[in-house]
Chain length 547, copies 2
């Protein structure tokens, strides 16, 4: 499988369309991000392992060079990568630190006399783990604590040679095969260990922090934590790529399951032909909301792609686009979870056929299952969303970000919220305006109450921030998803409005309403608790979701 | 993998404990069902493919002989099976009929002059599919339409020789390897095609219908459909075995995930040691309800095992135990779905480690995913539950079962329901009595309203029964699960009461409350809609579920 995937990657990246996309990435041509995201989606539906492996080499490794390196790095490293002279990997995660990556322990110590960095794995917990392409790749973009004169400047990214053209490991590098996983059998994940591996000073990707020949460290971002955030932010496009890959899987799974449901017959009226299983009420109820969600996600994630393209085109640093950070983090979590649920229903709705690998759904399931924890664990990403949402309001209080923010939030909002209450009657629950207001209301109430809770815990009860935050984690996750739901429904409704073809528009509108109804339906207990819905309106939404 | 699994099956079935269990099955010793269910659970945690393959040979094939055959069949076939002289398979599902098995098309035509049955696959849709052990097994228990003088007596089960001791297929039998599945790689599933294969008359398992040498058909059940129901009912124990296997998977997955969560550290208060991930609020909230459910299912399924044992011990036909049929069908659906959700959370809560096969969770996921559709698709089983629930009330109206039943149901109930309303106050929502009443209320309201809806559709609107039923399928599924939830919570609470150790009892009580709270919490929208809960009480349940 791995050799086959390797061949497929080589073949794919040699295709004119993909060569052009890669070239566009290097040149930062207008809208290059959106274009390559879509290519990534299509590629993933052809073969997920190939899509993921291309992602590792060109999005993650290539992206690290493009977004964390200098123009010199791009010239030196990107051209031969595009020509497939070598391949790369992305080495951030360690055994001891997967989610909390700022705690990584791999060291890059500057040796002034040799003008080199010494890359070293000081302990078992510092081993680079789950590294894709670890058994084939030539170079790794390794994240390590940059140490100068015994002092760490926080994590930075370095290009480290791993093996030569013939595949022989360089001295000091150990690569251990991690072998069998649930899926993505074509992707070779491994452990990387560095024993005092020396690399030239130039191999530091130094866009956010550089070291002079004299051993002086320079960075325009003074705060270590803010600096690392800027680096992580620069990698945002590759996080969005996962959303597109998940959508590819959803759409393919749904196509297979819905088509099968239109051909398979089982049960029926006495002494008559059996009916198509799509006509079984439960079958439609299980599959159609997923289709609506897949459409909604398509528009929301394309919107995120457009925003990314605009920022990059205008030379804006992604770390300064906090709402976009929140959107991309949230979309990744939301889309990958929806994908799991969708494929599980596709698999179950196709019975035994769905369990057979040849029918693809179970393979897609196994391959994409890792999406919910890689490139940022979903629960962690939901927290990123909320932190970014908070940060949007707090830029002016750089000194004491949390407390000032809490203060300002706790004071505001009340009035604005009240005016948003909708005095709707029974006829409006199926109305898109109602649905949009409802998801908006939920986001803002959750936001305001979260701020109030944390404020109380931190300011009044004097709890430390971590434990206050931790005791609100469920609330944080709810707010985060509520935010993404709201944006996604908004983008879906805008897409419907913009649709040029009337017939398509009418069909899209149906799915948009189904999607919005689903969102409100799922949380109708919350709406009832907050008296936003009456029991009668809630029951009506239930009925509505059924047709 | 298959060869290894084959060895494991041979080894396992040679163990004294298992030999004794099989011997007890043959002799119908008291409580033999409960004992072998537990053995099946333990075996499945050791290796799921071995558990499933043993299940196919000894529960399904062996069970067909024990439960559908005569004492003569048991003597002739079971002894050599126990001694592993040969192995068997169970061939019911066909390409064209998986869920609606009474529509199978394989034919068993009686040839009077030869005193043989001719087993034949008349078309592609009649091919036996997904048959486990199809690439190794010697004999198959084949379900086919019994045809005498051109007239079908409905599906019956026949012992058909497939291959000799050396593994060579007999003439007229084709076995096609179905190859790769999502999991259970050690189980060889295949397609079986019969081209006019002749078997002796004695190979008809004739407990529910026999053919004399003169070609006379005899059965004490005159109605074809009722007869097939009796046969299916006799196979109930093997359906319950799936529940035990799913529970084994849940418990193993939870053990791994919870232990890991107590050793893995990530994030923490500033400048302090990172905390164990089990201390992250979301981690506990995701894992603990599954543990509570696993415990609840343990008691409910053991209860079902005891009832089965009692019936079998008293020589009662299982078809006459309708509540037990409903319970076993419902438990299979409920437990296998809970298992999928549980293992998915276990996998996600263990991050990248959970995706590695060596840590077992992902393997368990893939292996047990098929449980939700095999041995009865879960959605179909939920319908079985409701049909059985209806049938309990309708025994006295044998002539016109549906309409009379509907009449009687629609008339009754109202008063009884009202008295069950609980005038609870805020202090009681955490009370087990409250939780039990709540799940009880939900079941009865759903039951009454379903009957009323179907009654209206069939009697007033004159819809045919199939389409009336189909348009209520979501309602049927809700009622079905509500029934199983109620029984499960009741059994959990009884088990707590009976627990001999005080400390264990206190701990079990916590999980019992968590389980009940979870049930009500999940459906709190419904309770709010039906004004069984006030918004304040609902919010309180939400908070309660969080600690």
């Amino acid at each position: 499988m791995r050799a086959l995937t390797f061949q497929r990657v080589t073949f794919t990246m040699g295709l004119p369309l993909l060569k052009r996309a890669i070239q566009e990435q290097a040149e930062k041509t207008k809208n290059f991000i959106s274009r390559s995201l879509v290519i990534g989606e299509v590629l993933s539906t052809a073969d997920m392992a190939t899509g993921v492996k291309c992602g590792i080499i060109y999005w993650l490794f290539g992206g690290a060079i493009r977004n964390l390196g200098s123009p010199g790095h791009v010239t030196k490293w990107l051209q031969p990568l595009q020509e497939q002279k070598y391949s790369g990997m992305f080495a951030m995660t360690e055994r001891g630190h997967g989610s909390n990556v700022r705690g990584i322990q791999t060291e890059a110590t500057f040796d002034l006399s040799a003008q080199e960095f010494v890359i070293n794995t000081p302990c078992e917990n510092a081993e680079k783990m789950y590294i894709g392409n670890a058994m084939y790749g030539n170079y790794a973009a390794v994240f390590a604590q940059l140490i100068i004169n015994g002092r760490s400047q926080g994590p930075h990214c370095f290009i480290v040679p791993v093996r030569d053209e013939d595949g022989n490991l360089y001295p000091g590098v150990t690569a251990i095969d991690m072998m069998y996983k649930e899926g993505l059998h074509g992707v070779d994940n491994g452990i990387l260990i560095f024993d005092k591996v020396r690399i030239p000073r130039e191999n530091l990707l130094d866009k956010f922090g550089s070291v002079t020949p004299e051993g002086q460290y320079h960075s325009r971002i003074k705060n270590k934590s803010a600096r690392f955030n800027a680096m992580l932010a620069a990698l945002t496009p590759s996080r969005l790529a996962v959303t597109f890959q998940a959508m590819g899987a959803m759409k393919l799974g749904l196509t297979i399951a819905i088509r099968y449901s239109h051909s398979r017959r089982q049960f029926g009226p006495k002494a008559k032909e059996e009916v198509k299983i799509i006509e079984h009420q439960t079958q439609t109820l299980r599959l159609m909301p997923h289709l609506a969600t897949a459409l909604a996600l398509t528009f929301a994630s394309r919107y995120a792609g457009v925003l990314l393209d605009e920022d990059v085109f205008h030379g804006k640093e992604l770390v300064d686009s906090r709402p976009l950070q929140a959107l991309v983090a949230g979309l990744k979590a939301y889309s990958t979870w929806e994908n799991i649920r969708c494929l599980q229903d596709c698999r179950e709705c196709t019975g035994g056929m769905g369990y057979m690998m040849e029918n693809r759904i179970s393979g897609l399931k196994c391959d994409t299952d890792v999406f919910v924890t890689f490139e940022g664990d979903n629960v962690v990403l939901l927290q990123v969303v909320v932190r970014e949402l908070l940060a949007q309001y707090t830029k002016q209080y750089e000194e004491r970000p949390i407390t000032s923010l809490l203060q300002s939030w706790a004071e505001s909002g009340g009035d604005k919220l009240r005016t948003s209450f909708l005095a709707f009657n029974m006829d409006t629950v199926g109305n898109l305006t109602f649905l949009l207001k409802a998801v908006n209301f939920r986001e803002r109430v959750l936001q305001r109450s979260l701020v109030a809770r944390i404020h109380y815990k931190v300011m009044t009860k004097k709890e430390d921030f971590f434990s206050a935050w931790n005791s609100c984690l469920h609330h944080v996750a709810s707010l985060s998803l509520a935010h993404i739901h709201r944006v996604t429904l908004e983008q879906f409704s805008l897409a419907v409005r913009r649709c040029p073809d009337q017939e398509d528009q009418a069909l899209l509108m149906k799915f948009c309403l189904l999607y919005g109804t689903r969102l409100v339906f799922q949380e109708r207990a919350w709406y009832l608790e907050h008296k936003y819905l009456t029991p009668r309106a809630s029951m009506r939404i239930r009925t509505q979701g059924r047709c």
